[in-house]
Symmetry: C2
Subunit: 198 residues, 2 copies
């Protein structure tokens, strides 16, 4: 019989009790996805290593899978408020950075550290199907390992990534009669061929 | 003296009492942003016009500003679970669509309908600075107008937009020693020049 990780009761992620974080993940994400739970520990590792003081930070996720939801649940950064950006490089890594200068901390899963965490390794490299893997065992290992499977490094974001991009003026598109950013040209980007619709 | 919109007490957005939705917006987005509130009425209009029945739907936002948060707060679709996609065309429009075939409803702000809503029009076309505009008056008009400022249309998404894209296998990048989708080639996209860091 596996010992239940009762110590979780006293554990917190970004000051949120782990149990409460897990509930929030279920509500928001729709399931206790391993990637969002591990993402929580990654956000906390980044937080802990940010310079102390009253800085305003933004977030970057290097994948659009799972991690953005951990960031949105644990930080003030959301997609809609613009403080979270997603650059989908397919890498399970995130950065929190000072929005005034782009200096921050990047946290990533370190494959070398996964050797001691066979369940996480199997899940991370998709070595078993979802059906074959025991979700409870995997989640226990994620909670036990926390950010031990991660590395972190100081980073400086390129200005074109961290600088805010604001549309100053909008005009009405002569083709679809909807509004669009004036800087896009004579008509909106959808009407100039970028429409996602058939 | 302006009459307070007391009828808001009985109003709901996607079955959520408006007051509760406004609270959620403040918690999640960090402020009662007009764009997220209007976005709520847009999500509801799309919902109401989806075919009845037990369909699983996904969401598309045509802007990364505000609208994604309304969708994430009112539907099961989030960035991290992959059911919400953002295609940043700078257009204040969204679609909810059947994830099995891409058929859905698109809702957009219709500039022609803004003539009767001067505060919304001024905000929407950024005709005043944030400081110059009275947020309370604007929000009252948004709640009073609801989805009256919007149009909607049936749409069919292009398969490359609605079809799920899953990474099947991951490997370790020989340069950074982190994992990346094997389909990206001999090294990860960050190491092949797409890194967001200096």
């Amino acid at each position: 019989m596996r010992a239940k990780p009762t110590r979780l009761r006293d554990k917190t992620i970004c000051s949120v009790p782990v149990g409460k974080f897990v509930e929030r993940v279920k509500d928001f994400h729709g399931a206790t996805a391993p990637g969002v739970i591990l993402g929580g520990y990654m956000v906390e590792l980044a937080y802990r290593n940010l310079p102390k003081g009253d800085i305003l930070f933004d977030a970057l996720s290097e994948t659009r899978t799972c991690l953005p939801d951990a960031i949105q649940l644990l930080t003030p950064c959301t997609i809609g408020n613009g403080w979270l950006k997603v650059l989908d490089l397919g890498k399970f890594a995130l950065s929190l950075y000072d929005k005034s200068n782009g200096n921050g901390i990047r946290v990533f899963v370190d494959p070398a550290k996964l050797e001691s965490f066979p369940e996480i390794r199997t899940w991370f490299f998709k070595l078993k199907t979802k059906k074959e893997q025991d979700l409870d065992v995997l989640l226990d290992e994620i909670h036990a390992g926390g950010s031990q499977v991660c590395g972190f490094m100081p980073v400086r974001l390129k200005p074109d990534i961290f600088a805010p991009r604001r549309h100053k003026t909008f005009r009405v598109c002569p083709i679809c009669h909807e509004s669009y950013p004036a800087t896009d040209g004579d008509c909106c980007r959808a009407c100039s061929g970028k429409t996602p619709y058939l």
